[in-house]
C-alpha cells in the first residue's frame, strides 16, 4: 500500500493543478450547514466539517435530471421522438466525502446497475467520479456506521483516503485512479508505509471508540416478512410522523424517483426527480385506489425496505450506512436505530413485540 504525505501548504497548489483535469466537488458552507458543490477555480473545499446536511448522492443522482428532449412541432423532422442528450461525463472528483457516504454509492449501485438493466445516467456519472475520502475523527452522536457495515475509516468505495494529521494529510492510495489523481495534483512526498499505517491504525481505533450508538441487525434475515409487516408496533412508530419526506431526501441510500414530462411551447423534456415513499402520490393508481393510503403504511414501507426487503433481496446487510442524517433531521425525532432494534428483536421477547 502506498501513502503520500500532503503538506497542507501544498494543498491549494495541488488542487489548482487538478482543476483542468477534473471537475472538483467538495463540501462548502451554505448558510448554516455544509453541502457538496462544484468548486470554482481557486475555491477550496471546506474540510472543517462533520458531514453535509444532504448526502452527496446527487453527484450521480441529481434531485432533478433531464433524461430526453423532443420537439412537438409537427413541421420539424423527428417530432414527438425522444432523443438522448449530451451530458458532461468528464472526470470529476468528490473531495472530502465521508467513508459512510462513499459506502452508500456501492450500496446504491446494486439498484442502478443490475444484470438485466443499467441505468445509464447514474452509472456514467458514477464511473466519471473519483472518490477522495476524508476519515472521520469526531463523529456525531447519531452516527452508527460501525454497526451498519462501514466505519469512520472505512475504505470501500474510495479511491483515496485522506487522514487529517493537523499540519498535513496522509493520503492512502486505494486504487490506480487514486494514484493518478495524486500524480496529477503533484503531491509526491511518499510516507513511510509502516509509520503511516501505524498512525492511521491508532486514529482509526480512537475514532471507532467515539461511535456511541449501534444497531443490531443479525436477526432481521431470519424474521418472517409477513409477520414483521403485520406487527402491531408500526402504529406507535408512525404516530408522530408528518410524512414530510426529509428522511428520504437526505438519505444517501434512498434512490426512488419519479418520471415527468415538462413542456414549454413546442419543445419538451422528460425528467426524473427524487420521489419519496412517504408521499401518498407515490403509489396512487389512476383509478384513485391507493395500496399505501395511510401514513403508517408508508412509514412501514420505508423501514421494511431498508431493514427487511433489502436485506432479503441482496443478502448483504441493511440498506443504510449509519450516517444518522435521518435521525438528526427528522422534525419529530423518529429514530431508525430504535426501529431497527424493535424489528431485530421482534418475536424473541414479548416486551418488544408490542
Amino acid at each position: 500500500m502506498k501513502y503520500i504525505n500532503i503538506d497542507k501548504k501544498n494543498w491549494a497548489g495541488g488542487l489548482e493543478n487538478l482543476y483542468g483535469n477534473y471537475r472538483l466537488f467538495g463540501p462548502a458552507k451554505n448558510n448554516k450547514h455544509h453541502i457538496f458543490k462544484e468548486l470554482g477555480k481557486g475555491e477550496l473545499p471546506d474540510l472543517n466539517y462533520l458531514n453535509t446536511l444532504p448526502s452527496p448522492k446527487s453527484i450521480a443522482f441529481p434531485q432533478s435530471e433531464t433524461m430526453f428532449e423532443y420537439s412537438l412541432d409537427e413541421n420539424k423532422k423527428g417530432h414527438h421522438i425522444l432523443k438522448e442528450i449530451n451530458k458532461d461525463y468528464s472526470p470529476r472528483a468528490l473531495i472530502g466525502i465521508r467513508p459512510c457516504d462513499a459506502a452508500s454509492f456501492l450500496l446504491v449501485k446494486r439498484n442502478f446497475d443490475t444484470p438485466e438493466y443499467k441505468d445509464p445516467y447514474w452509472l456514467r456519472a458514477y464511473e466519471a467520479t473519483i472518490f477522495i475520502g476524508l476519515a472521520c475523527s469526531s463523529p456525531y452522536s447519531t452516527c452508527f456506521c460501525t454497526s451498519a457495515g462501514c466505519g469512520p475509516f472505512h475504505e470501500d468505495g474510495l479511491d483515496l483516503l485522506l487522514v487529517d494529521e493537523g499540519k498535513n494529510f496522509i493520503a492512502k492510495i486505494l486504487t490506480p485512479r487514486g494514484e493518478k489523481f495524486i500524480k496529477s495534483a503533484g503531491w509526491e512526498t511518499e510516507a513511510d508505509p509502516t509509520v503511516a499505517e501505524k498512525i492511521i491504525k491508532n486514529m482509526k481505533i480512537k475514532a471507532e471508540e467515539k461511535i456511541a450508538s449501534f444497531v443490531s441487525t443479525d436477526q432481521l434475515k431470519n424474521k418472517s416478512t409477513t409477520r414483521l409487516y403485520d406487527a402491531t408496533f408500526w402504529d406507535d412508530i408512525a404516530f408522530a410522523c408528518i410524512n414530510c419526506g426529509t428522511c428520504t431526501y437526505v438519505c444517501p441510500t434512498c434512490w426512488c424517483f419519479d418520471i415527468q414530462d415538462e413542456v414549454s411551447r413546442n419543445s419538451g423534456l422528460r425528467m426524473r426527480n427524487w420521489d419519496s415513499c412517504m408521499y401518498p402520490l407515490f403509489t396512487i393508481h389512476g383509478t384513485g385506489y391507493n395500496p399505501r393510503n395511510t401514513k403508517v403504511q408508508r412509514v412501514r414501507q420505508r423501514f421494511m425496505h431498508k431493514l427487511k426487503y433489502y436485506v432479503d433481496r441482496y443478502n448483504d446487510g441493511i440498506q443504510c450506512v449509519g450516517c444518522g442524517r435521518c435521525i438528526r433531521l427528522c422534525p419529530v425525532n423518529i429514530d431508525i436505530r430504535k426501529v431497527c432494534d424493535i424489528m431485530n428483536n421482534y418475536g424473541s421477547s414479548s416486551r418488544l413485540e408490542t
Binding site: 433524461m67 430526453f68 423532443y70 412537438l72 417530432h79 414527438h80 421522438i81 425522444l82 438522448e84 439498484n111 442502478f112 443490475t114 438485466e116 438493466y117 443499467k118 441505468d119 445509464p120 452509472l123 456514467r124 416478512t225 409477513t226 409487516y229 403485520d230 434512490w255 426512488c256 424517483f257 419519479d258 418520471i259 415527468q260 414530462d261 413542456v263 419538451g268 422528460r270 426524473r272 420521489d275 415513499c277 407515490f282 403509489t283 396512487i284 393508481h285 389512476g286 383509478t287 395500496p291 399505501r292 403504511q297 414501507q301 421494511m304 425496505h305 427487511k308 426487503y309 433489502y310 432479503d312 433481496r313
Partner: protein, 280 residues
C-alpha cells in the same frame, strides 16, 4: 450503454373503439424502424410503457401476440392524463413503446391444460395468450384450453369478433358470460365470472394451470372457487397492477415486499403471493 428508458418510436396505424361506453380503445402500433420490432421480442403476459411525448408514460399489457407480426396492439382504458391524451390521438400520430417488460411463465405452462379466467378490460394479455396458444405452430404444446371471460354487458366485451370465432372452434372451450343483458338474442352465458368458473372450469390437478386477470372483486370471489375445484396455489397465476414509472425495477415505486411488480412480476403464482405482504 443501451438506455432502457428510451422508447422505440412507433406510428399509430389504427384505433379501434372496443366498448359501447367508448372508454376502451385498441391501438395498433407499427415500429418506425423495422429493426426495433426484432429487438422488441416479447411473450404474452408481458407489458410495455407507452410513451406520449409531452404527457408521460403508462404501463399497458401487450394485447397482441408474438405470432402476429408487423405490429403491436394495446387496449387502453381512459383514466387520467396519459390515457386520455392517447384516446384523443389519431392514426398517423407518433408515440413511443418501451419494453417488453415483466416476466412470463410459459416454460411452466408447456404441455399443460390451461384455464384462462378474465373479467372486464383485464382480458388484454389473456387475448394475447389465447392467440399465441391457438397458433398452429404452438397449439400442440398445450393440452386442453378453457377460457372464461365475462363483462358487465355484451357491449362491454373486448374483441367481440374474435370471441365469436373462438366459440366455434373445437380446440378451445370458450365460455363467454355477462353479468346481465336484456338482449333476447344473447347466445352465451349469463352470470358472474366466479359462478361460471365453478360450472365450467375443469377440476384442478398437477397438469392444469389457471391464469386469472380481472378486477380485485372478481379475483376475490374466484379464488375460493378454484380452491374448491382443487387448484393448488402454485397452479394459479395472477397478474398484479401497481402504479409504475420505470418498469425495470429501478425507480422503487411498485414493490410488494421485496418484489418489484414491474420486473419480478407482474404475474405471480398465488403461492408466491401467499408469502408476500398483502399490500396491493
Amino acid at each position: 450503454m443501451q438506455n432502457p428508458y428510451l422508447p422505440y418510436p412507433v406510428r399509430i396505424d389504427e384505433i379501434i373503439t372496443e366498448t359501447e361506453d367508448k372508454n376502451l380503445k385498441t391501438f395498433k402500433l407499427v415500429f418506425l424502424n423495422p429493426d426495433d420490432e426484432e429487438k422488441f421480442s416479447y411473450m404474452p403476459g408481458q407489458f410495455a410503457e407507452l410513451s406520449v411525448a409531452g404527457k408521460g408514460e403508462v404501463p399497458i399489457g401487450i394485447a397482441s401476440s408474438p405470432t402476429e407480426k408487423g405490429y403491436l396492439k394495446f387496449t387502453v382504458n381512459k383514466v387520467g392524463l396519459v390515457t386520455t391524451c392517447l384516446h384523443s390521438m389519431k392514426p398517423g400520430d407518433i408515440i413511443g413503446v418501451r419494453g417488453p417488460l415483466g416476466r412470463h411463465l410459459w416454460d411452466t405452462l408447456k404441455g399443460k391444460n390451461v384455464v384462462i379466467i378474465g373479467g372486464g378490460f383485464a382480458f388484454t394479455t389473456l387475448r394475447s395468450s389465447i392467440v399465441y396458444m391457438l397458433d398452429p405452430l404452438n397449439r400442440m404444446n398445450f393440452k386442453d384450453i378453457n377460457a372464461i371471460y365475462g363483462s358487465r354487458s355484451p357491449g362491454m366485451l373486448l374483441y367481440r369478433d374474435e370471441l365469436a370465432v373462438w366459440e366455434t372452434r373445437d380446440d378451445i372451450n370458450m365460455h363467454i358470460t355477462v353479468d346481465g343483458t336484456d338482449d333476447p338474442d344473447w347466445k352465451y352465458n349469463v352470470g358472474f365470472v366466479p359462478t361460471i368458473t365453478e360450472q365450467k372450469a375443469p377440476p384442478g390437478n398437477s397438469d392444469t394451470y389457471a391464469l386469472i386477470c380481472g378486477p380485485p372483486i372478481m379475483i376475490k370471489f374466484t379464488q375460493p372457487v378454484l380452491d374448491k375445484l382443487g387448484y393448488a396455489h402454485d397452479h394459479i397465476i395472477m397478474s398484479l397492477e401497481m402504479r409504475m414509472k420505470c418498469g425495470i425495477g429501478i425507480c422503487g415505486r411498485c414493490n410488494i415486499g421485496k418484489e418489484y411488480v414491474c420486473k419480478d412480476g407482474p404475474i405471480f403464482t398465488l403461492a408466491e403471493l401467499d408469502n408476500m405482504p398483502k399490500e396491493y
